[in-house]
């Protein structure tokens, strides 16, 4: 699975996710990627999110929207909301994976509970970050 989140000069956020699914899948299984709210979500009031991992767990936990809700209704910061969902809630479900997120104020979060996540980010005026493992 691949994905991207961004905030532009007008403060608008957007997210996109794309996947080839799981190796040897059948029955026309689909994961969380195309399901708005589970694997992909964007809202200018909170953040934009793209998820990756074992999709069934992301669907059950409604991961992307849950992060947005924690920010909107409970006033969590982006990082806190992402960690609450990925490192606590999702782990209880047994779900492996992670997410990337950005707020309209250009705060970025790259959170995962697996051993690694291919990831990169770039903010205006800053160096490009590229990472794979828990570095």
């Amino acid at each position: 699975t691949v994905g991207a989140v961004a905030v532009d000069q007008e403060g608008n956020v957007a997210s996109a996710t794309s996947t080839g699914g799981m190796t040897n899948k059948r029955y026309n299984r689909i994961g969380d990627t195309p399901i708005i709210g589970s694997g992909t979500y964007a809202n200018n009031h909170t953040c934009a999110i793209s998820c990756t991992g074992h999709g069934e767990f992301f669907i059950r936990a409604v991961v992307a929207y849950d992060v947005s809700c924690l920010m909107e209704y409970k006033g969590y910061t982006l990082q806190k909301a992402c960690e609450e969902v990925v490192l606590k809630k999702l782990v209880k479900f047994g779900g492996e994976g992670g997410l990337i997120a950005v707020t309209p104020s250009a705060e970025v979060a790259l959170v995962f509970n697996s051993e690694g996540m291919y990831r990169a980010s770039k903010s205006a005026g800053e160096e490009t970050l590229v990472a794979i493992y828990k570095e």
Binding site: A14, S18, M22, G53
Partner: protein, 175 residues
């Protein structure tokens, strides 16, 4: 003017340094850097967040290193089925698709569904028909073939095991 930012991912799982050779590590990092910087250039030029995420994902879809687009893994039938979605935070409009084959860049189809249909999510043949009507690019089966993906699939094709592309295979084979 707001500060711009973009982040991308190329999948998660049991990624350890033992799983990747130095050459593979270098290739992944280069592909990630290229995609994120392409997306950020859109933002720096005043482009929209939607354009930036679409372009970044297209770069990742075009790379055989990642499980999407060209690098999509094999299904039980030895085919490639792809899903994608896109969402705009300003309007809350969204476009999504599931189970398409032969679409070169599924994220472009998601964008087309968001902008040109009254629906949020299309699937299978219908989504491909929609793609055809909007002139989106198709690719032959050979475009999606990757030796490494094929070998991954070959190891589990005769079993009920399915797995994330970046996750090391568990010892769950049964006689």
């Amino acid at each position: 003017m707001h500060k711009t930012a973009i982040a991308i991912h190329g999948g998660a799982g049991t990624i350890t340094q033992a799983n990747l050779s130095p050459e593979q590590d270098k290739a992944y990092r280069a592909a990630l850097k290229k995609a994120v910087e392409a997306g950020h250039q859109v933002l720096e030029r005043g482009g929209s967040a939607l354009d930036a995420v679409e372009l970044a994902v297209v770069h990742l879809e075009d790379s055989p290193l990642f499980n999407a687009g060209r690098g999509s893994v094999f299904t039980k039938e030895g085919k490639h089925e792809m899903d994608a979605s896109i969402m705009c935070g300003k309007t809350l409009e969204a476009g999504a698709l599931a189970g398409v084959r032969s679409i070169k860049n599924p994220v472009k189809l998601a964008r087309a569904i968001m902008e040109h249909s009254d629906h949020v999510m299309l699937s299978g043949y219908g989504a491909e028909e929609f793609a055809l009507s909007y002139g989106l690019e198709f690719a032959p089966e050979a475009y999606f073939f990757d030796r490494y993906r094929y070998e991954q699939w070959s190891e589990v094709r005769d079993s009920d095991i399915f797995m994330l592309d970046h996750t090391a295979q568990r010892d769950e084979k049964f006689g």
